[in-house]
């Protein structure tokens, strides 16, 4: 792989041990994936932020580093809200370790925004090269925004953030972004994010790691978010196209003759929507947009919850929509920031959780040890208030 003089000096250790290690990571990944060079990135999002996932050895490694990021960098959700974790039922020992992880990232110059939706914090442009980690953020950046990122691991995203570059391979290269399989959806797609999550849940299993293109549907951005997040969870989808809707499908014409076709049937979608009792309800996987927060607030207005109902979003979105937060919390529901239902130990105590997300539906059983039920946002509110 080609390295310029500055990169070579970093690799030789002239700029300290941490930068040397980070360059070694980028060079090794470049070798593994056959990259010819490094390219500059405009931003990074680092996973491995919850103490629940990285544990004490991940923390020890972060604490051993001594450098600062050189591009705007944010974190994936952590294991608790940074403020008010006591009210969220987090034990003190976990909170102490989680605070140490956050402090380690702060020392590295990472902006302490902990979200899987970094695209709401900073405008991300078509064609930007990024090093993002969280699977739903990656698929959104690539598909909905037309930015370019591979699905990075925590250390490789951090390495890219500290060096300001990433190896040029995979989805950074335009030729590698063409659709490989066509998905047909049977029947009415419906207006609900829960429905799009269910479609994505099924589609992801069918396409695996291929790049799909959908035809004949017109989802909005929040629906695209739900669709992509679910496909990234059940498949390894990091990019999808929707004919006439997503940016690259409008810039390029993608011939689909000769591609494999798979169908998501109405029966398959209906089969996911089981009507069973649940102990708690959680929405906001990925974190709610302002529009989604508004929808939840309108659904909850004047009602009272009868079981725990958590709404997850980025701290920045909550702070800018305090009116919606207050409507939601007046019902007894809680708006929780910085964390999510998958990475927080808080959700482990429930035996069954209802979600409006195909992604959460895939992860809740393994990560929280709970039975998951999927429904539309309205059905989630119904379940929490009946």
């Amino acid at each position: 792989m080609y390295l310029d003089n500055d990169d070579e000096r970093v690799l030789a250790g002239e700029f300290g041990e941490t930068r040397q290690k980070m360059m070694e990571i980028l060079v090794a990944l470049g070798e593994v994936y056959g990259a010819g060079k490094l390219i500059p990135i405009t931003g990074a999002q680092v996973s491995g932020a919850s103490y629940k996932t990285i544990g004490r050895w991940g923390l020890a490694w972060l604490q051993s580093l001594n450098a600062r990021v050189v591009v705007p960098t944010v974190l994936n959700p952590i294991g608790m809200p940074r403020e008010g974790w006591q009210d969220f039922g987090i034990d003190e020992e976990f909170a102490r370790h989680q605070a140490e992880v956050v402090e380690a990232y702060r020392r590295l110059g990472v902006r302490l925004e902990c979200t899987c939706t970094p695209y709401y914090l900073r405008i991300t442009e078509y064609g930007e090269h990024l090093a993002w980690s969280e699977s739903s953020a990656v698929v959104y950046a690539n598909s909905v925004l037309g930015a370019r990122t591979n699905r990075e691991g925590g250390p490789s995203a951090l390495a890219a953030a500290i060096i300001g570059k990433t190896p040029y391979y995979g989805l950074h290269i335009v030729e590698n972004r063409r659709p490989q399989v066509v998905i047909d959806i049977e029947g009415d797609t419906g207006p609900h994010a829960g429905h799009w999550g269910a479609i994505g849940h099924i589609a992801g299993k069918k396409v695996g790691n291929r790049i799909p293109i959908f035809q004949g549907i017109r989802p909005n951005r929040d629906q695209l978010k739900a669709l992509g997040a679910a496909m990234a969870a059940t498949g390894a989808v990091a990019l999808f196209h929707v004919d006439g809707i997503t940016p690259e499908a409008r810039v390029f014409s993608f011939p689909t003759d000769g591609l494999d076709r798979v169908t998501v049937t109405e029966d398959e979608i209906e089969a996911l929507f089981e009507d069973t009792g649940v102990e708690a309800v959680a929405v906001g996987c990925p974190h709610c947009s302002a529009d989604e927060l508004r929808e939840v607030a309108e659904l909850l207005r004047g009602k009272t919850t009868t079981k725990p109902f958590y709404v997850f979003t980025a701290a920045w979105i909550a702070k800018n929509n305090l009116d919606l937060v207050s409507v939601i919390e007046r019902s007894g529901a809680r708006v929780i920031t910085d964390t999510c239902m998958v990475v927080s130990p808080r959700m482990d105590e429930f035996r069954s959780i209802m979600v409006d997300s195909g992604k959460a539906f895939a992860y809740v059983p393994g990560m929280c040890g709970a039975i998951a039920r999927i429904g539309t946002r309205a059905e989630c509110v119904e379940a929490a208030t009946s």
């Binding site: 491995g48 990285i54 050895w57």
Partner: protein
């Protein structure tokens, strides 16, 4: 024998060979270096001080931190050899400072387990003990 250097440094030890991939997260005990994955060909064996040979990594990316933990606890392998490196093991070896090489020629895999070798992660070379390189 010439392979591809993935993680720098030199390590010498006896070959410990797994025909199956290894998941470090939940597959190897970070405190003792013993393989604990149920029904794994190396179950019950220690990777400590060995030149650990396996096809490639599998499982969670958190496995990289387990490799780091093995090194911090003084129970890491002396070196790692993969058929084909992938990010979990490559990143783990680099952050832990464990020499790692991949893509060795087929004759390497005819060596008997227990044979002592030296792995040079800078050059990608693997030498039988007693030879120079």
């Amino acid at each position: 024998m010439q392979g591809r250097g993935i993680s720098r440094g030199r390590g010498t030890g006896e070959l410990l060979v797994s025909p199956e991939p290894i998941s470090f997260l939940s597959g190897v005990d970070p405190e003792t270096g013993v393989v604990v994955e149920h029904d794994h060909p190396l179950e019950g064996q220690s990777v400590t001080g060995k030149v650990l040979v396996f096809p490639y990594g599998k499982g969670s990316t958190v496995g990289s931190y387990v490799i780091y933990a093995l090194k911090q606890n003084g129970v890491a392998p002396a070196a790692i050899i993969n058929q084909e490196a992938e990010p979990i093991i490559a990143v783990g070896a680099i952050i832990a400072g464990i020499p790692m090489v991949d893509r060795l020629p087929p004759e390497f895999y005819k060596l008997s387990p227990g044979r002592k070798v030296t792995v040079n992660g800078d050059t990608g070379e693997v030498c039988l003990d007693g030879e120079t390189g």
